[in-house]
Point group: C2
Chain length 250, copies 2
């Protein structure tokens, strides 16, 4: 596996990183026609980071990624630069490019920021949601449970994100969504750790509550449900367990 590429894709955790990256980033997402190399690289990396393919502290290289994506340094560097702008990566002083480390305090800040942003976005979405859209949201919620019961952690995570995204993007001017995804990206690497250590997934979310509140067009109840949902867990992961894990890692 190492000899496959002349250069290392990752400096640390090479095997694990590759193992996670390969299915997530390399084969599945074919490049659509008309998509630039840069956009392709950006979206692949973004998606990989958001679902926890990279552990905190992992460092990547421009040439390594260019090779993995069968491209050249220029578009990859642009993609990496963009990812730093949204907190997904970090260019260090010594020119190393790493996935940011997360302290327990930072983790708490990010969760609290998620609550502020997403309860706000949920409130703002209510008036724009049609009945049909709400039913779609409920359908996505069902698929989350299916994935959790099936034990596919990454799929559960993605479905959970889709659930939240579907609500917030009902707003025709979804200015909050990019910021919310920035926070998700910063939490991604933690989820990667969680996925390695947590074997049991729990279906304890507040999605039903949120959906009911959406149907009633009850702003306060929606915001409360979303806040509680975030506070308690992330797509099958128990929040407290993740926090504990983080303290151990630090």
């Amino acid at each position: 596996m190492y000899a496959d590429s002349a250069r290392a894709l990752f400096r640390d955790d090479l095997a694990e990183g590759l193992a996670l990256l390969k299915p997530l980033v390399l084969p599945p997402l074919a490049r659509p026609d008309g998509m630039t190399t840069h956009d392709y690289a950006f979206n692949r990396l973004r998606q990989a980071i958001m679902v926890g393919a990279f552990r905190p502290g992992t460092s990547v290289t421009i040439r390594g990624l260019a090779e993995a994506l069968e491209s050249s340094p220029t578009p990859v560097r642009e993609a990496l630069r963009q990812l730093t702008s949204i907190g997904a990566l970090q260019f260090l002083e010594n020119r190393r490019i790493v996935v940011p480390h997360i302290t327990p305090a930072r983790f708490e800040e990010l969760i609290s920021l998620r609550i502020a942003l997403e309860s706000h976005a949920a409130r703002r979405a209510i008036t724009h949601l049609s009945e049909r859209q709400i039913e779609k949201i409920a359908a996505i919620d069902d698929s989350i449970e299916t994935e959790i019961r099936g034990g596919d952690k990454v799929a559960a995570l993605i479905a959970n994100q889709a659930f939240h995204r579907m609500i917030y993007t009902a707003n025709p001017d979804p200015v909050a969504m990019p910021l919310i995804e920035s926070v998700w990206l910063q939490l991604g690497p933690i989820l990667g750790i969680a996925m390695e250590h947590v074997t049991e997934l729990y279906v304890v979310d507040r999605h039903r509550e949120a959906i009911d509140a959406l149907r009633r067009r009850d702003e306060g109840a929606v915001a409360d449900a979303i806040a509680a949902d975030i506070r308690e867990g992330i797509g099958g992961f128990d929040q407290q367990a993740v926090a504990r894990l983080l303290r151990l890692a630090a």
Copy 2:
């Protein structure tokens, strides 16, 4: 002025754009030692957009900026790509790079997002603020009034941003600050329009209220003061007047 450069820096509003850009972006900020060309370009453009140097819809070119910044396309393109990630610019389908247009609805969304984000950040900052820092914040508030009375719109704007930034960055893990600045960037172009049309600046902010609340460590009062401050105006600009202006422009 036009003949100075072989290529146009802006496609539209060339004269106005240059007039605003020159003092803000070109001469003053000298490139510090050790700062890369890319970082320099990024920071200059970012600052220029944040204080309203570019009107909505203005389009820029990579080569034009590279020439203006005495650099080459590569680092400038990276800077522009980063700016799109934080909502300051937009790469259109036809490969044009523009400052995003803003609809009245989007404007309202951004203001409401500012309130959600900044009242949250203010709450989170309270426990980390020392007495000395609060006095510094009060000093910045004084300088805002000075600038407003002096009639320097850009300086007033920058001082106002410094006031808010000083509060939010007291938090040792300021995860919200980059997101807040992203919103500021998206509002920047509107401020540019406001600065062109508004002649009178008002010193009607809630800063004193906010500072008092900070001294009392009163979370709710701080959040309320910040929310009211944002709702009513931006660094000397009356919010309602700006909204009216925007409806006219649309």
